[in-house]
């Protein structure tokens, strides 16, 4: 039991850096409710049938990474191509590629803006509405309203929900 507590403590303390380093998702195969432990975990194995599903999930993450890589690649290619462009066809291709690169850069900027907005909300002491956490922060109290079970944690309200098989808590506006 002590060991499990230690894992939980380790997980809570180290969750963000670990997730960033490992690029791991807290979701567990077979929908096991790993909860707080999950954050300390680098990897869990594929499970029956879900290994096809796990492959799909992996694909999703890989796609995200590849898109970023492709942005860089396209930008590089576009620069190189436009410099060396001899034919109109090549130039058109380069323009198209540059446009694609620009669009992707804009998407990246939008993402950054969203991240900044969330950071500002965090700085104000309030997590963004819809933020999903695997466990309630410390010191929450039950605050039911309109027949819905809310938990008040400081100035933020959470409600329980299922995300896949996992029970999670979502920042809500009662």
């Amino acid at each position: 039991m002590n060991f499990r507590k230690t894992i939980r403590a380790l997980a809570v303390g180290a969750s963000l850096p670990v997730l960033l380093l490992a690029g791991a998702s807290p979701e567990a195969p077979l929908g096991l409710t790993l909860g707080r432990e999950a954050a300390a975990i680098v990897g869990a194995p594929a499970t029956p049938l879900s290994y096809a599903g796990a492959a799909r999930r992996t694909t999703r993450r890989v796609v995200a990474v590849e898109t970023t890589a492709a942005t860089a690649a396209v930008a590089t290619t576009a620069a190189a191509t436009s410099a060396a462009a001899a034919s109109a066809a090549q130039q058109q291709q380069a323009v198209a590629q540059q446009q694609a690169a620009t669009a992707q850069q804009q998407a990246a900027v939008a993402q950054q803006q969203a991240a900044v907005a969330q950071q500002q909300a965090m700085a104000a002491g309030l997590p963004a509405i819809g933020t999903v956490v695997p466990a309630l922060p410390a010191g929450c109290v039950a605050a039911p309203k309109g027949g819905v079970e809310y938990y008040r944690c400081g100035n933020a309200y959470y409600r329980a929900a299922f995300q896949g098989n996992n029970l999670v808590y979502v920042v809500a506006q009662p």
Binding site: R4, I7, A14, V18, L21, A22, E27, A28, P29, L30, G31, L32, T33, L34, G35, E37, A40, I41, V42, G43, A44, P45, A46, T47, P48, L49, S50, Y51, A52, G53, A55, G130, V132, E149, R159, A160, A161, F162, Q163, G164, N165, L167, V168, V170
Partner: protein, 256 residues
Amino acid sequence: MQSTIRTRRATRFAVVFAVVLAAALPIAARAQPAGIDAQATRLLKASTDFLAAQKQFSVETRNTLEVVLVSGQKIQFDHSARMSLQRPNRLRAERIGDLVQQVLYYDGKTLTLFNPGEKYYAVVAAPGTLEEMLDMARTQLDIVAPASDLVYKNAYDILMTDVTQGFVVGKGVVEGVRCDHLAFRAPHVDWQIWIQEGKEPLPRKLVITTRDMQNAPQFSVVVTKWNLRPAFTASTFGFSPPSGAKKVDFVPLAKR
């Protein structure tokens, strides 16, 4: 005691594989062809076809999930599961373990997840057949029903997707039951299955090794009990919230 048995078994297989790898057993080495051995697929297909032909059954399993910590250390989490199934559209799957306490109910109309520990449940409308329900649960809600691979009638095709190698390891004994032991390889994963000998070729054990992950964690399922003549009632598959149970929502997948 069980862990001792498991350790012994693991050691035995490690030894067997080491010997095979060392090609000290030419016969065993010959029995491990580069491709997929027809005998292995025949045994597997017999098992999945047999299960697909069962109108109803219940099965109890012991599951072990290994996870790899940042330190590289491997930790095992156990849970036991029981699944009750009635084709074409009834399912109840329960899991109780270190990390999970959950019951999934499907009555042909709705899908319910219930966590008895926290007393939370969520209900969603579901399609009219088991297979459609499982597809919907997985793709729209990211819910995986335990052992749902047994439910699909095309389980063989699902299991064999991307498999590049397969062979018959030999005979094995799982929970006292004599089995054929098969081993397969696919990209990212190796898996082994033990199938009961005789007229009822039921799967008795399954081990999946995730090869491309640090320290190759494994998921294993050992069947402790098969019942091909279960007695089900309406309450087996229908959920009625116990007093104090609180209804919550599913987080839509699109928001993630």
